[in-house]
């Protein structure tokens, strides 16, 4: 199967007072056309940085893609000149963000904001733009779209705003939709609606979705495959049902246990003992060992290699008995 | 130092003579631009005789007579002729026929009577001095005015100078409450819409920017004025005025309108005339006013010591850039009629000054200080501030510690002339063309009146001086009157109730293309009907 997106060895660094920090450290994964892949992890695990890196949205002043390739439909986005990159953004890859209130410009009408990508990428003639906006809003289930286009973000409810964001991301018919924690800022009932919408649109429009979330329940509902991130590194990857049924990495196990135990998928994963280490103070060896119930001396000695078994990957020495190095 | 001053003077005179006596024929037309600051606050000298008002008002409003030469000889103007009775108590003026106000109304004896009785006598600051003895003003016909005086007034004729008694149109005062100073001051013809008989009338006044006067086509003197326009440019900053003059944007900077610092440089430019001629009837006299009520200063030896401690030539050279002469006494040396030539300035002699103070019992303390005084500074700008700094410096060397106090004009006037709350202050006064008008106010004990600005603030009392003033006020014989003033000057010079520092010199700067500016002792206040400009 030829991948729509092939990320290999992606490394993202941020400049800080103490020097460069690796927010994403050698992460690789792929997404096939029409596939939904989820990236999960606690806050600070680097998952959002991946999303931003894919579209090269990391502010130049503060950080950069320090290595790796981002092959999208055969082009390496990481090496593309800025003007060519702009033709990818919003046209071939759409993105929706965590907080629709913050992600919408408060001083412009939503009609204008949705129309922007259309006009930018020349998908429709100017005089047709507003008709297309109305169509898009209808598509994402916004009632009375003709009125909505003249309203401002603060006039809408949270769920409606996120629908607007989705409409905006879909405007130019992208082949990949990156959804960066799209439901975190919404309340529970709305979350379900928005996810259902994304799922439905995916099927209808035949696009791939990269879902960034910390919510395992969401993952199990919509994603086919999952990538688990910890402290900037990929610790496990595989089909959702397999990973969730039999996690190979103690961290994944911890995540699952925590979310099961709490029963509230929105609850932050604080039940794993300890906290995510600051990137500047990563321990030697496996980043997870200080919190790992199964930690052994060799975990501290060296970074574990990635092991593979079928479609599954994991970076933990404990998987060695059954898995082979990938 | 004297050389500089003389040099400037001779250049000025020569230029002035050249300008008036040149065989060139006057040309009609053109406009003359002058600059001055501050802006006039009124259009008539009745409400104030401040320089900016006098400069512009005298072109619009004439008085009865015109004046020639530095000695100010009266010649016919609105009055074609006049006679004085032998006892000096009756003056009869014959008015010129056919003179019209700017609004076309005829000028008559009723206007003269009104201008003197109702306005000048009541509201002009020197009105009481000039007309206090007028018993009656009679107007037997439209062109005759007779003044009847209680007693002879030797300087009576001088009241008819343009700044003193401007002729105002009685018909424009209908409805004005003549009993109220404020109402008179607010009359339209005084504040903003002047109607005079002068050679120029007001065309445009943009506040803060400029005033344009234009030719009065109905002016009574045939063929005058030569100029089409007189323009005043108001430029608040001295440097800006200098630049405007240098660039030729203005033709004339009258009466020290430019900072002295710039005068020498600009005066050397080709085609520029520097002149101090034409100010003889003003005679500005600069001094330190001393509060004689305050103990160390009440001692004449202390005042003499201070007078000796100040280097007049340095003040002239460094602070006034060479413009001026050492101050001598109450009447300035440029006065052609009344100056007592026997007097000399106090010589700069700090050593002797110190001895005088020792002798008076004011010895230096352990800190070198003999006593402390305060000094107020006339808030008229930078030169005065620097004079204050110089006085402070020089007196501190002598052992007198000086604390300088600064205030704006209102505060200064109140402190000095109402509260008498000062030790020394700088100030200056004009001699004018007659000492009774010019100097009596400062030395006669009758003028120790709180609230009377620029009068006897020192609290100076000398019975003989009072008597001499009273006598000279009625003395019709010029020689006797001169003798009275000579004695008076000698007494005051000895007693130094004020420390005479400098006879200021007003300097006019103008481009050579302008002619006829210097005509009498108050040239800038004459009506400029004869001024003309080369094309």
């Amino acid at each position: 199967m030829s991948a729509l997106l092939r990320v290999s060895d992606l490394t993202v660094e941020y400049d800080t007072l103490g020097g460069a920090l690796r927010a994403v450290d050698g992460v690789s994964f792929t997404i096939a056309p029409g596939e939904t892949v989820a990236i999960v992890g606690e806050s600070g695990s680097g998952k959002s940085s991946i999303a931003h890196a894919l579209l090269r949205l990391i502010p130049r002043a503060s950080g950069r893609i320090a290595g790796g390739r981002i092959e999208f439909a055969g082009e390496d986005l990481a090496a593309l000149p800025e003007h060519a990159m702009r033709r990818v953004r919003g046209a071939r890859i759409g993105m929706i963000f965590q907080d629709p209130m913050m992600a919408l410009n408060p001083v412009y009408t939503i009609g204008r904001q949705i129309a922007e990508p259309l006009l930018l990428h020349g998908s429709v003639p100017v005089r047709r733009a507003m008709d297309r906006v109305v169509e898009l809003l209808t598509l994402v289930g916004v009632p009375a779209p003709e009125e909505r286009i003249r309203q401002y973000p603060h006039n809408l409810s949270g769920g409606m705003r996120q629908r607007v964001m989705i409409a905006m991301a879909l405007a130019s018919g992208p082949r990949l939709l990156i959804a960066d924690e799209p439901t975190t800022a919404l309340d529970v009932t709305v979350q379900a609606q928005v996810l259902a919408l994304v799922d439905e649109l995916k099927a209808r429009l035949g696009m791939a979705v990269l879902l960034i979330t910390h919510d395992l329940a969401v993952v199990s509902e919509v994603a086919a495959r999952v990538v688990v991130m910890y402290a900037g590194r990929k610790v496990e990857e595989g089909p959702v049902n397999e990973v969730f049924a039999d996690p190979a990495h103690p961290y994944t196990r911890g995540l699952l246990a925590a979310s099961d135990w709490s029963g509230d998928p929105r609850e932050r994963l604080r039940e794993i003992p300890g906290t995510v280490p600051a990137l500047a103070e990563l321990p030697e060896g496996c980043s997870f060992w200080p919190r790992c119930p199964d930690a052994e001396p060799r975990c501290r000695a060296a970074r574990p290699a990635e092991l593979a078994s079928g479609a599954r990957r994991a970076s933990c020495v404990h998987a060695e008995r059954i898995w082979r190095p990938s | 130092m004297m050389k500089t001053v003389l040099g400037v003077l001779s250049v000025g005179l020569a230029a002035a003579l050249g300008a008036t006596a040149a065989a060139q024929t006057p040309v009609r037309g053109g406009s003359l631009t002058y600059t001055y600051h501050p802006e006039p606050t009124a259009m008539s000298t009745v409400s104030t005789t401040a320089v900016p008002v006098a400069l512009v008002a005298t072109k619009i409003y004439d008085s009865l007579l015109e004046w020639e030469g530095a000695e100010m000889k009266p010649v016919p103007g609105l009055a074609a002729s006049w006679t004085r009775s032998d006892d000096g108590r009756t003056w009869t003026f014959k008015l010129r026929d056919g003179v019209k106000w700017h609004d076309g109304q005829p000028f008559t004896s009723a206007d003269v009577k009104f201008s003197v009785e109702n306005i000048a006598k009541a509201y002009h600051s020197r009105g009481r001095a000039h007309f206090g003895d007028v018993e009656a003003v009679e107007t037997p016909d439209k062109s005759t005015v007779v003044f009847r005086l209680k007693a002879p007034v030797p300087y009576f004729i001088k009241a008819f100078q343009p700044t003193e008694t401007p002729m105002l149109p009685v018909h424009k005062f209908a409805g004005v409450d003549l009993a109220s100073a404020a109402a008179v001051r607010q009359a339209e013809v005084i504040t903003r819409a002047p109607v005079g008989t002068g050679p120029f009338k007001l065309k445009e006044w943009q506040r803060g920017s400029h005033i344009i006067l234009e030719r009065n086509p109905d002016y009574w003197r045939e063929g005058r004025p030569y100029l089409d326009q007189i323009i005043l440019r108001v430029l608040p900053d001295g440097a800006a005025r200098a630049i405007a003059f240098e660039k030729g944007e203005v033709d004339l900077a009258p009466q020290s309108a430019l900072p002295e610092a710039e005068l020498q440089r600009l005066g050397k430019l080709p085609g520029v005339v520097t002149s101090s001629a034409g100010t003889e009837a003003l005679g500005p006299n600069l001094w330190l006013e001393v509060n004689l009520r305050e103990p160390p200063l009440s001692d004449v030896r202390v005042r003499r010591a201070i007078s000796m401690a100040l280097d007049r030539s340095r003040i002239i050279d460094v602070i006034w850039y060479g413009y001026g002469k050492p101050g001598i006494g109450p009447i300035v040396s440029s006065d052609p009629n009344f100056f007592n030539k026997a007097l000399k300035p106090y010589a700069y002699d700090p050593k002797k000054a110190g001895e005088l103070l020792d002798e008076a019992g004011y010895k230096r303390g352990s800190d070198g200080v003999r006593f402390r005084i305060t000094q107020n500074v006339l808030p008229y700008g930078e030169n005065w501030t620097r004079l204050g700094e110089y006085v402070k410096q020089e007196l501190s060397k002598l052992g007198i510690a000086v604390d300088t106090r600064s205030a704006d004009l209102a505060g200064w006037l109140k402190t000095v002339y109402t509260d008498y709350n000062f030790h020394i202050t700088s100030t200056f006064q004009h001699n004018y063309s007659d000492p009774t008008i010019g100097i009596e106010r400062s030395y006669h004990s009758a003028n120790i009146r709180p609230g009377a600005a620029f009068q006897n603030s020192m609290g100076y009392k000398n019975a003989r001086v009072d008597q001499l003033f009273d006598l000279s006020k009625r003395e019709l014989d010029p020689a006797k009157r001169k003798a009275q003033f000579d004695e008076l000057q000698q007494i005051i010079h000895d007693e130094q109730p004020v420390i005479y520092l400098l006879e200021m010199q007003y300097v006019h700067l103008f481009h050579k293309r302008v002619h006829g500016l210097i005509s009498n002792g108050i040239s800038m206040y004459s009506n400029w009907a004869n001024v003309w400009k080369e094309k």
Binding site: S62 | A239, A261, E262, V318, V377, K392, S406, D408
Partner: protein
């Protein structure tokens, strides 16, 4: 406690040091302060003494030349530094104190006190500030004290507004409630708990105010509203102004001095801003 403060200052210095412009500003400031403090001792020339010929160019005897009255310009500059700095710092201190008190009371207690204090503050902001300063100086007669007071009077409202905003934002926070629960008095909470947190932005604005105060003083002096017994930079510009054409340096020297001083203070202020402002720190 003292250790904490000391380490706070040290870390502040570390953050501050990274801004090279700010360090340069601080160095210049230090030089000016030294010149003001010791200059007149090392160069004991009376700035009012008419020692030389007027308007001479710089020479060995007069390193910066003489002014229109033959006074030593260098002496004026050194003595003027004292006045400018004294007035600038004193006025800013006074304004900061008043502004802090008003802002703290208004922000902490809220209610009618807040309303009254803030309306008063707004009211002062409505009057053109330089006009008010001119007015006060003219009315009470110029002296160092009055000039300082007039600048403080027109400067405090901006501090008050800022301090109020800080106190309002801290007032609602958990730690303040906790302190209250512990039985701390209002004064203690305001002084010991909130003030240290609210201080950084106030310090920044106060440092910049010194610069504005120096400029205001020079403006007043230029208009002839300076203290006649002392020499200041603004006064020197005023003196030099009349001879702009023949001796431009006479007003340029004090002008540039004011410029450099104000520039240095601004650089330090910006450096402080970056070092103290947590939001800026992240960037």
């Amino acid at each position: 406690m003292t250790v904490q403060v000391a380490s706070g200052v040290v870390s502040l210095w570390h953050r501050f040091r990274r801004n090279r412009a700010a360090v340069l500003g601080l160095a210049i400031m230090a030089l000016i302060v030294l010149a003001a403090a010791f200059g007149p001792l090392l160069y004991p020339v009376d700035p009012f003494d008419m020692l030389g010929r007027p308007s001479t160019v710089p020479s060995q005897r007069f390193p910066l030349g003489t002014d229109v009255s033959g006074r030593d310009i260098l002496a004026g500059l050194l003595h003027g530094a004292r006045v400018s700095l004294l007035i600038g710092i004193a006025a800013s201190l006074a304004a900061t104190l008043v502004g802090l008190v008003v802002g703290a009371l208004a922000g902490y207690f809220g209610g009618w006190l807040d309303a009254v204090l803030m309306r008063t503050t707004d009211f002062f902001l409505t009057i053109p500030s330089f006009v008010l300063a001119v007015l006060i100086v003219a009315i009470f007669q110029p002296s160092v004290l009055i000039i300082t007071a007039s600048i403080a009077v027109v400067s405090w409202p901006s501090v008050a507004r800022l301090a109020r905003a800080e106190f309002v934002s801290h007032q609602g926070r958990d730690y303040v409630d906790a302190c209250r629960a512990m039985g701390m008095s209002n004064a203690e909470i305001m002084l010991r708990q909130i003030l240290p947190n609210a201080l950084p932005p106030v310090i920044v604005i106060a440092s910049l105010m010194v610069a504005t105060a120096i400029l205001t003083e020079s403006g007043l002096s230029f208009l002839g509203l300076g203290d006649p017994n002392i020499i200041s930079w603004g006064y020197m510009i005023g003196v030099g102004r009349t001879v702009l054409r023949t001796a431009w340096w006479m007003s340029a020297i004090p002008g540039v001095t004011i410029l450099i001083t104000v520039l240095a203070i601004n650089l330090v202020g910006e450096g402080l801003n970056e070092a103290l402002n947590p939001r800026m720190r992240q960037r």
